[in-house]
Amino acid sequence: MSIQGLSKRWLARHSVSGSDQRSAMLLLLPMFAVLFVVAVFPVVYSFWTSLFDIRLTRMSTPFVGFGNYLETFRDPGFWAAVARTVWFTVGSVLAIMIIATLMALLLNQEFRGRRILSTALLIPWAIPYVVDGLMWKWIYDSGYGALNGLLLQLGLIRHYLVWLGDTHKTLALIANAFVWKEVPLATILLLVTLKSISPDLYGAARVDGATLWQRFIHVTLPSLRPGLMLVAIYEAMMAVRHFDLFFILTEGGPADASHVLSWHIYVETFRKLSFGTGAAVAYLLALATFAMSYSIIRLLGKRL
């Protein structure tokens, strides 16, 4: 059933006259047209593209059906990228949720300097990802980076360490830069949810003799669930398709240590100029994002 069809049925059910219906449809048309061009068309067109073997440097563009998908599934590099993407997403989202919850709880209290802290918290959020990446590249640099300088001055290391060049640390360091940027938004979302919790609930819990921890577990956390779900879905979607930091900090390296799905799509599409395969992987990523969001809603939304 098309959107127009649904609208017509709604208008008919609500006894709107024929000419009003036509006027309403006419007024809605520009929005439908924009939605079609910017939302529906790209989705359909990218799927269509994924069914062809399109290489810009080759004359023919043969139809291969689901060949690009099969080829992708047979590629061990793809599965390794999936594993890294899962690691990055789960680790980042968990860290964001824990830190943002703690920050929101802190900012929900009345204390001196709360406003300044709230404002300062927004700074990472206001910084573009490219700038964020360049800043962390300087911080992590093994020759002149601030991280080495700090650790050395604190006496925690004896000599400068290699950070981004170490395959065991790379993904965690990129996740750290991602978390730093994403925590402010998550904190604000959770803080808004916290503000909506009725103080009566805490009063009743106190009367029942609940401790601070018990109040958090039995009052705060259940009330936070809608906010947590929103944060989990949003941040998971951001993390799973994140590209900027990988591009700026490591370009998928060292070796393949940060070769995640978004980087895989970039390499296929823009380095190998293989638009068909790139579109296929992008479609798989979109489906995975949808499945993940649905799972989070199912998992966290049960008791909403």
């Binding site: 067109y45 440097t57 043969p62 060949g67 020759g143 060049g165 170490d166 190998k272």
Partner: protein
């Protein structure tokens, strides 16, 4: 896979995609091809922009032909130009890197210039590796405007402090001298060798391989890079040992690109460096370098069975196939290419201007005898070594249509070897396997 249904063509695909994108952003109607067609459309990457503009203005003054000059960042140049070719953007003359020539020529985007005597008459003046780099499948596709090579640079002051009287002549000697410098506490990692995954990686590796007497592929195009007798394995093993055994190269080299490597040398952290030769100008400029005046060039160290050879790259002016198909456009494009790649006002004006303005080298031999060029170079480098090394330079042996895709594999495989995750031999076997697969597909 069957070729039952066609998408149409690459051009339709891009035009359709671009059309949809433009419609979405309301930009249709702003395009005017007629205006662009009146001028000679020149596309370059954003290097020496002022010099190019000056030469274009001189060309217009001389010929009355206006030049529609466009430049794009080098990092995005290949992708952007491919898109423009497929979308049939108006292009007459353009800069092409040697690495993209087979891909673009096979795609039918470039016109050979063999049929233009006014252009190929300059071949005798051009260094042979440059002319070789402009040829593909028996045709010449352009005129060089710039060439350079990977150079071995050293900090003479640091060597002197370590009691070393002359730079190393071999890779083994380089290890000995580096250990001596390290022991003297002058540098933690005396050799700066960038091994980041970027387009420079193949240049660094090729310089080591060539100086070790090696090849990546033989004359028939068969991969020999995994053959221990051909120098590539020996070269990568040397790097692995330099990082993990001798500790004379930082393990952070895998995250160090050419630009940051240059900055590290400029900050005085290293005694030796492999860098593009043109970097010597900035390294000896006190405004840009802490070691200004101390950086010198030596011939590339030689391997056990090798020589002082190094790798060179070449950039050229080429003509688009679309221009080549039109008599008038082709004639105008040829005049522009000659004005930039050949003689203008009786000399190789553009190449000389680029050298004087930006320090980038040239591929035409007569400029080596130009007193102005020599005097300019002697302010920051040794002109004799510059020329001697250029005479020993060779073009990359891996330039093919699938070079870009093959090089993606190298970044992963070679870095894995440097990080100790695989052996040098296995890393090059991976590269050779990929080469064989791509070669078969082609």
């Amino acid at each position: 896979m069957s070729e039952v249904t066609k998408f149409g063509s690459r051009r339709r695909f891009l035009q359709f995609s671009a059309g949809a994108g433009l419609a979405a952003t309301g930009m249709l109607g702003g395009l005017s091809r007629a205006d662009a067609a009146a001028a000679v459309n020149l596309y370059t990457w954003s290097a020496g922009v002022d010099t190019v503009k000056r030469q274009a203005a001189a060309f217009t003054k001389e010929t009355g032909l206006p030049v529609n000059y466009n430049n794009l960042p080098f990092a995005q140049y290949r992708e952007a130009m491919v898109t423009k070719f497929v979308g049939q953007a108006p292009i007459d003359a353009l800069w092409v890197s040697d690495g993209w020539l087979p891909e673009w020529a096979d795609a039918g985007w470039l016109a050979p210039i063999d049929g233009y005597p006014d252009l190929i008459k300059y071949n005798n003046d051009v260094q042979s590796f440059c002319t070789e780099s402009t040829r593909y499948k028996g045709h010449q596709y352009g005129m060089t405007y710039y060439t350079d090579y990977m150079a071995f640079l050293y900090d003479a002051d640091m060597l002197s402090k370590a009691g070393i009287s002359a730079p190393p002549a071999s890779w083994d000697e380089l290890v000995d001298q580096s250990l001596k410098i390290k022991k003297a506490g002058l540098s933690n990692y005396p050799l700066m060798l960038p091994m980041a995954r970027e387009s420079w990686l193949i240049e660094f590796m090729s310089s080591l391989v060539f100086s070790n007497g090696g090849r990546f592929v033989d004359d028939t195009g068969r991969a020999v890079m995994d053959d221990p007798q051909h120098g590539a394995v020996r070269s990568l093993q040397w790097i692995v040992d330099a990082v993990n055994k001798h500790h004379i190269v930082s393990p952070a080299c895998v995250e160090l690109g050419e630009l940051n490597g240059f900055k590290a040398v400029a900050s005085g952290n290293h005694a030796f460096a492999l860098l593009p030769r043109y970097r010597i100008q900035a390294l000896n400029d006190p405004r840009q370098s802490h070691v200004a005046g101390h950086i010198k060039q030596a011939l590339m160290p030689a391997g056990a069975n090798g020589s002082h050879a190094t790798v060179a790259w070449m950039r050229m002016h080429a003509m688009s196939a679309a221009a080549g198909a039109s008599k008038t456009r082709a004639a105008n494009a040829a005049r522009l290419i000659e004005a930039f790649g050949g003689k203008f006002d009786g000399q190789y004006a553009f190449q000389k201007a680029m050298f004087l303005d930006t320090g980038t080298a040239f591929g035409v031999k007569p400029l080596f005898n130009d007193p102005e060029v020599k005097a300019a170079y002697e302010k920051y480098g040794d002109f004799a070594i510059f020329r001697k090394q250029q005479d020993l330079a060779r073009k990359k042996d891996v330039i093919t249509r699938w070079f870009g895709e093959w090089d993606e594999t190298n970044g992963t495989a070679w870095q894995a070897a440097v990080l100790g995750q695989s052996s040098a031999a296995d890393a090059l076997k991976t590269s050779a396997r990929k080469w064989a697969n791509l070669s078969k597909q082609a």
